[in-house]
């Protein structure tokens, strides 16, 4: 559950900016296409060490973005198509690489990649001098979350400006590409770490659903970020508890709860605006 909360917070902070940039699908694409990066890192280092895998993933995250932009510019296909091409291609590449390099007999499990198994992450405990210090996924995701939070807090101005008005940022001489790549690299890294723990579906869910719910009900960027974290907490905690009582998959339940929260927010908003209109009418 803690894993889900950490991953979710990280995802929803980053996802907020993806939504504002209207490039949520890029997050989706990245979360799938980092797979070859993971596999490559694994083949070369022969272990599930965090650092090479992170680097591999970050590289492929950036490659994917560049590939998408390249396709769009050179072949004039629409953005959606360019994204679809890139991520299915990279994901398939990753799956083939797994099969070829290992004969299907490794630690990287294809089902795990898609759906993850958050319930088993607690089995992977790390002990230092015999003391339990945390599960591996918590220990890897916590620093990343810290970096994401620092990035968002200190980079707020840059993120706000480049997300709202890229041309103006460029006109001020700000390196817009650096900001874009920094954001997408963090998305890749988060996606990769979340892969084993929660699977690609939950990553995309966290990237989009809580920020979208928050976007519906606020007009202020900082509030939007806070609210999306709140939505994440509610879905992660609620989803886990529900899954345990109903004995179903945790990832699936978390996404479902997030989705239900989104629908509730949305209908709440519709009712609010309607009743405001009625108030206005009755005033007249």
């Amino acid at each position: 559950m803690l894993t889900a909360v950490l991953i979710g917070t990280s995802c929803s902070l980053l996802g907020s900016f993806l939504i504002l940039r209207k490039s949520v699908m890029i997050g989706d694409a990245i979360s799938h296409s980092v797979l070859p990066g993971i596999v490559l890192a694994f083949i070369f280092t022969e272990e599930r060490a965090a650092l090479p895998i992170l680097i591999g993933a970050a590289v492929f995250g950036v490659l994917t973005t560049m590939f998408i932009q390249f396709l769009q510019r050179k072949s004039n296909v629409q953005e959606g198509a360019a994204i679809g091409i890139s991520f299915t291609f990279f994901f398939a590449l990753g799956v083939i690489m797994i099969a070829l390099s290992t004969g299907g007999n490794v630690d990287i499990d294809q089902d795990c990649v898609l759906f993850g198994e958050i319930a088993s992450t607690y089995l992977d405990k790390i002990f230092v001098n015999g003391y339990f210090v945390g599960t591996r996924s918590i220990l890897t995701i916590a620093p990343v979350l810290l970096i994401v939070i620092l990035f968002v807090v200190f980079g707020m101005k840059g993120l706000r400006l480049t997300s709202f008005n890229e041309d103006y940022a460029k006109a001020l001489g700000i390196n817009v590409n650096a900001w874009n790549y920094a954001l997408l690299m963090l998305v890749s890294i988060t996606a990769v770490l979340s892969f084993e723990a929660v699977g690609a579906v939950l990553v995309v869910g966290f990237l989009t659903i809580p920020p979208a719910s928050a976007y519906l009900i606020t007009n202020n960027l900082s509030k939007m970020l806070w609210l999306s974290v709140v939505f994440t907490l509610l879905s992660a905690v609620g989803g886990t508890l529900l899954a345990l009582t109903l004995d179903v998959t945790i990832s699936g339940m978390i996404v479902s709860v997030a989705g239900i929260l989104f629908l509730l927010t949305w209908s709440g908003k519709i009712i609010m605006t309607k009743s405001k209109k009625i108030e206005k009418l009755s005033e007249v």
Binding site: K22, G158, R160, L161, N165, A171, L172, N219
Partner: protein, 261 residues
């Protein structure tokens, strides 16, 4: 003094030239119009000047220097439709962006910055709306937010893309008054504009554009029937419109010339 110069500038999208061998110089302390028909490359010219598009050949200089060296002194007001007004930001948030600087992006805004921002908002008469979310503004108010942001930047030259589109007559006059004040303080204002009817009343200086520079100079010299028909082509309806415009403009222009003497 020259505020802006372009030399041998050629810009192409997918190898189709949109601007061809552009060459002109603009004076300082004037309100300058860039006019031309739809698709004549006005927006492209502005974006090239701001360094958003790389030219295929040629170069631009602002205050006789490369753009990178004078960026602080150059403000850009993009077309209003170029951004998403549903973005969660208030008037204040957007105008503050005018104080963002490349090398202090990670620092908080100072008290001076805040005062400059409040001042800019006051100048465009939006103080009452400063905490309003930008989607809840009218088109004219949104345009003024963009102008306030440029003012907050404290620039000496302003490039504005169609600032009068979707703006009512009152706001248009208000904006024009503001631009006139700025000019009188020695600022240079370059505006992309498409309404031929108002050209002679608004601008001191004109660049008439249609892929090439058709004419460039003081408004009275540029607004000739020959130049306009060169820029706008030979369509009869347009030509007759142009003739009426030229008749209309004779009076105000004579008046302006009179003032100078």
């Amino acid at each position: 003094m020259i505020s802006l110069e372009a030399h041998n500038l050629t810009v192409a999208y997918d190898k189709v030239p949109v601007l061809w061998d552009i060459d002109f110089e603009l004076p300082t302390g004037k309100i300058i119009g860039i006019i031309g028909p739809n698709g004549s490359g006005k927006t492209t010219l502005l974006k090239t000047i701001m360094g958003l598009i790389k030219p295929a050949s040629g170069y631009v200089k602002v205050f006789e220097q490369d753009l990178d060296e004078v960026r602080q002194r150059v403000a850009y007001v993009p077309q209003r439709e170029s951004v998403d007004w549903d973005f969660p930001a208030s008037v204040q948030d957007v105008v503050e962006m005018g104080r963002y600087r490349k090398n202090s992006l990670f620092r908080r805004l100072t008290q001076t910055d805040k005062e400059i921002v409040a001042n800019a908002i006051e100048k465009v008469k939006l103080t009452a709306f400063k905490d309003r979310q930008i989607s809840q503004l009218s088109g004219g108010q949104q345009q003024r937010v963009f102008i306030a942001r440029a003012l907050a930047q404290g620039a000496d030259i302003f490039f504005m893309d169609e600032p009068f589109v979707g703006v009512d007559a009152t706001t248009e006059t208000a904006i024009l008054d503001l631009l006139t004040t700025m000019r009188d303080e020695g600022k240079t204002v370059v505006i992309v504009h498409h309404d031929l009817q108002t050209v002679s009343g608004y601008f001191d200086h004109l660049v008439l554009l249609n892929t090439r520079v058709i004419a460039c100079g003081p408004t009275a010299e540029v607004l000739t029937q020959e130049n306009l028909s060169n820029a706008y082509g030979g369509q009869l309806t347009l030509l007759s419109k142009i003739q009426s415009i030229i008749k209309e403009k004779e009076f105000p222009i004579r008046e302006k010339g009179f003032e100078k003497r």
